[in-house]
Amino acid sequence: MIFSKKKEIINPYTVEECNSCHAISKRKFREGDYVFKAADRCDSCKIGYMMIAKVLGEVVK
């Protein structure tokens, strides 16, 4: 078919950012995650705390 539609598969991810060193980490979305939720201490600088900056869906190619 000329106009057949491809079915998109979208995977949810959570992007966390440190409030001190601004290090960014990406992981799979877990239930209970929401944007601007405070998370654990930053693994990179060990000073700041991570915060969920984005919850987004990426298309599986």
């Binding site: 979208i10 949810p12 979305f29 239930e31 209970g32 995650d33 929401y34 944007v35 601007f36 939720k37 984005k54 919850v55 987004l56 869906g57 990426e58 298309v59």
Partner: protein, 373 residues
Amino acid sequence: MDFLGINIDKLFNSTDNSNPLMWLVWIIPIFIFMFYGQRIQLQVTSSEINKSMEKLKTFRDETRTELIDYVKNTFKSLQDPTIKLDRYFEYFTIMPADIDPNGIVPKIRHIMRSREAFTREQVKTLSSNMNHLEASKITNILEVVTTLHLLYKTVRHLFLTAKKQNNFPLILPLQMMMPFIMEEAEALKTAVSAFKQGQPIGDGIGPMIVGKMMLDTEKKIVALETVWGEKNFEGRKLYLMKAEGPAATVGRPGDALEKIIMESKPDIIVMIDAALKLEGEDTGSIAQGFGAAIGGMGAERFQIEEVATKHKIPIYAIVIKESIKEAITLMKKEIADTAETVTLQVYDIIKENTKTGQSALIIGVGNTLGVSQ
């Protein structure tokens, strides 16, 4: 080959006009299509619509089952909620009479708010230990199932009426509308997953941008499910307003704006919202303009425009383009990644259109599911 004494080549000889069999082969279909063409077309169109209608029914049934299972699994001590939920699916809203449209907007607002308040209270009766976030999620999923149910019933009504009357022209508008209806139905079905898991949806980009701007401010409730905060920016005062997240709500931006303007008259209003893209436009493209960027029935927009006009406050708008499906399903990367650019644009608008000592009201419009502040 001449098994029965018939010469096939002679029988279908197209160059011989006197051949009666060849004459019939051409003339019979012409008569068939002349007298039964419309019925044949009706049958073909009917079978196409029937297939889509079956799909629509499956969508409705699946989302209904998903909602019932979600309520059962989330509140385990609960009695079977099926009967109660099934009753909600049949609720309808009668819009005010528009023979005389003067003063119709407050009536629409009243009816819609009564319906919202009733649904909210009814959902809370499903379980005594239901928190605000869960109630908002269930209310949104309930809205999805009700819409799919209504779509299915409307399509079925139009289809059966055309079949009953054997009326081909009656089925044509339905055939034309079916792809659009199915696109909306598929979007609604996909939305249930995001609502259940509390994931931000494409429509939440406005609240996400303003939510980040108001992170280190004191948040105060200004209207039902709506918060605001204040901060300073290059000698200007910013009033930031959005629906209260991470619940699935759009808040009451109209009421909130009215209260903020009464308290502290801002010099400009900037509204950030998701907007439906035109075919061919890229998801996540940003456009800037003027006027109240807010969707829905129009009652909130009317209220915002009226207050802004009364106080002569200009309204600037920034919209992020997305499709209907992207607006109600998990926020795509292309949409989420616009946040930084839009924030810079908002600050540019403020700098260009206000002087030091003046103030601006920034509104993040949309469903704030999965987005705090």
